[in-house]
């Protein structure tokens, strides 16, 4: 016997599950395989735009009505006057998002999750180590730190980034700008380059490049995100360079639904990745069960 309760209606602004409508202002294909796109969006309602205030490290639930929702990092920095998401086509919802064009609408809820622990990074040398789409969540923090009002709060900034192929390097024009800046040490690599490409850079995996660049761990914090296989080798690499677990920061993925700590899906031990994360230090992760 199933109990049928009267339908409960909750006004959208009180409903934590109702998305805010946004419009795609600009869309660009970011990868050679055409499976990753950058969405620049604007809110359809002024009050939503005013209310939505995010910090680097947070994510949003993106929704295409009729298809569902997917948690996606906010890749733009709060210092930028718009919101961006970099989305890799994986399954149903991300495919539905990829089917949209400029001017089309979809929904977002958020911002959700904790933020990169910026206070502990101030005055320190910063080392970013990213692989593939793992650059998307870090990019928000990178551009935040590089913004003129914040740059002086951080010492040296090193960025080590790798992708499968030259065409898969994301945010290409931005990478070029970072490479040109005198206050950024930018290093990139690709797993392999097709013979017909005019790629001049390094070939090899991110952990190898990390060993070569060998950034000092002195007064430094490392922030890393990438595929599990990369993380598996980057962590020992950072350890060898002398980075303490407290000074290694990463951001995690777990399957999510609510994004607000209710649906019970994204926990690692007692911690919910949607509200206690997605950002954790390695020291915190070492105190959590290895179930992720």
């Amino acid at each position: 016997m199933t109990m049928t309760m009267p339908v409960m209606k909750i006004a959208s602004d009180m409903n934590p599950y109702a998305p805010m409508p946004v419009r795609i202002a600009e869309l660009s294909v970011e990868s050679a395989a055409r499976d990753t796109r950058l969405f620049k969006v604007e809110f359809l309602k002024e009050e939503d735009r005013v209310r939505f205030r995010h910090e680097p490290g947070q994510f949003a639930q993106l929704s295409v009505l009729g298809y569902g929702e997917a948690p996606i990092s906010i890749t733009s920095s709060p210092t930028q006057p718009y919101i961006e998401f970099c989305i890799k086509r994986m399954g149903e919802v991300t495919q539905a998002l990829h089917n949209l064009g400029e001017g089309d609408a979809f929904g977002i809820r958020g911002p959700y999750g904790n933020t990169f622990p910026r206070a502990m990074m101030e005055g320190k040398n910063i080392v970013f180590v990213a692989g593939g789409i793992g650059l998307a969540p870090l990019r928000s923090l990178i551009n935040f730190m590089l913004h003129p009002t914040n740059r002086a709060s951080f010492a040296n900034i090193t960025i080590i980034y790798g992708a499968r192929s030259p065409g898969d390097l994301l945010f290409k024009s931005e990478l070029a700008e970072w490479a040109k800046r005198v206050d950024v040490r930018y290093h990139e690599t690709v797993d392999a380059a097709p013979p017909d490409s005019n790629y001049q850079g390094k070939i090899g995996f991110v952990p190898t490049l990390l060993d070569e660049v060998a950034p000092s761990s002195e007064n430094a914090v490392a922030i890393t995100c990438g595929p599990p296989i990369m993380i598996k080798y980057v962590l020992p690499g950072l350890d060898k360079l002398g980075f303490a677990p407290e000074n290694i920061v990463t951001t995690l993925e777990m399957r999510m639904k609510c994004g607000i700590g209710k649906c019970g899906r994204c926990n690692i031990g007692r911690h919910y990745v949607c509200i206690d994360g997605p950002v954790f230090t390695l020291a915190e992760l070492k105190n959590m069960p290895a179930e992720f």
Binding site: M8, I10, E69, K262
Partner: protein, 341 residues
């Protein structure tokens, strides 16, 4: 607050008198047992049918609930007319405790579940004391006493041909205001019912020792050892008064549709499956560990409450007779020897 008297012959009329302005959920006959359900006009609550098959959580947190409707790619604005408030009538102590556990998750924390909150705050809850414990229940192990029940507005205590209705809150007092005061004879009978319940010898499960034993042990072969034929059907999580995990899905017909929240179960492999194919919990033992640790460790640490009220429904419903009481006993033994070793 004065205890009131509700004669068994007058229950239907009393409930009817509340009905026009309220939706009433009460136990009703269901295939030889009973289940909580919305009471239709003139129907008689089945207060003597024993423990309802599923918990009362459904009334506040329905198995499937619409979050919003949409049409042609946009959320439909909704006009919010207040629904008639709920009266949960005849709720067993294990389910009262279950509501307390749901409150800690859905009403508290950085975000509030507006759907649960709206129903919960408008609801009046009338508890019902059990005359004896069912063979599968072990609420006594959690210190739950149906005669000094977890939070509710009125508690009904059996007193022969009547119930003594003890109001416990102002809301409860208003609800039973129309009933006559309980007379001395019925109060004495009710007191005896409580004494008999407390005097009965019922086996207990050592919950505190278990909570202590699971506090530190995540990796242990003991988890593999308790799988015991569990087929991961998830039935246990659906009948449980505290299980609250849900899925969110879109249902569409043409351009119209709705987004619904539906109960889900941590016992299913796809619960944590990433699109990449990676799954942090692939084995049945990992999923059972999650169910048990969520109840006895994570909720204890995060919400300061246990996620089990000893209602015994999971024991009764399980197709392979998996028994949480046995699992608690075995794990306590194996995990405490493991941590000492």
């Amino acid at each position: 607050m004065n205890p009131k008297l509700l004669r068994k012959t007058e229950i239907a009329a009393f409930v009817q008198s509340l009905a026009p302005s309220h939706t009433i959920v009460a136990p009703q006959p269901d295939e030889g047992q009973c289940s909580y359900g919305v009471l239709s006009n003139g129907a008689q609550p089945a207060l003597d049918g024993g423990r309802p098959r599923k918990s009362a959580k459904e009334a506040l947190y329905p198995q499937k609930e619409r979050m919003f409707a949409f049409e042609a790619g946009a959320v439909e604005p909704c006009s919010v007319e207040p629904e008639p408030p709920l009266i949960l009538f005849g709720v067993r102590a294990c389910d009262l405790k279950g509501i307390e556990a749901l409150d800690t998750v859905l009403l508290h924390g950085a975000f509030v579940d507006a759907f649960y909150k709206a129903r919960r705050e408008a609801a009046a809850i009338v508890g019902l004391a059990c005359e004896k414990m069912c063979p599968t229940c072990f609420c006594n192990s959690f210190g739950i006493d149906p005669y000094a029940p977890p939070a509710c507005d009125v508690n009904l205590v059996p007193a022969g041909d009547a119930f003594v209705a003890q109001p416990l809150t102002e809301k409860g007092e208003a609800l039973v205001a129309s009933l006559p005061d309980a007379d001395a004879a019925h109060l004495a009978t009710a007191r005896k019912a409580g004494e008999a319940f407390h005097a009965a010898e019922n086996p207990k499960v050592a919950v505190d020792a278990f909570v202590e034993a699971v506090a530190e042990v995540f990796e242990s072969p003991a988890w593999e050892g308790i799988v015991d034929g569990c087929i991961n059907c998830g039935g246990c999580t659906y009948v449980c008064p505290t299980c609250h995990c849900f899925d969110i899905v879109d249902e569409t017909i043409g351009h119209r549709g709705q987004r619904v929240r539906a109960w889900d179960t941590c016992m299913a492999a796809r619960f944590t499956l990433h699109t990449s194919g990676h799954n942090p919990r692939v084995t049945p033992a990992q999923r059972l560990r999650q169910r048990i640790l969520h109840k006895f460790q994570y909720m204890k640490k995060n919400q300061s409450i246990l996620g089990c009220t000893g209602c015994g429904r999971c024991v009764a419903v399980c197709p392979v007779n998996w028994d949480i009481r046995d699992a608690i006993g075995r794990l306590t033994e194996e995990l405490s020897t493991a941590s000492k070793a």
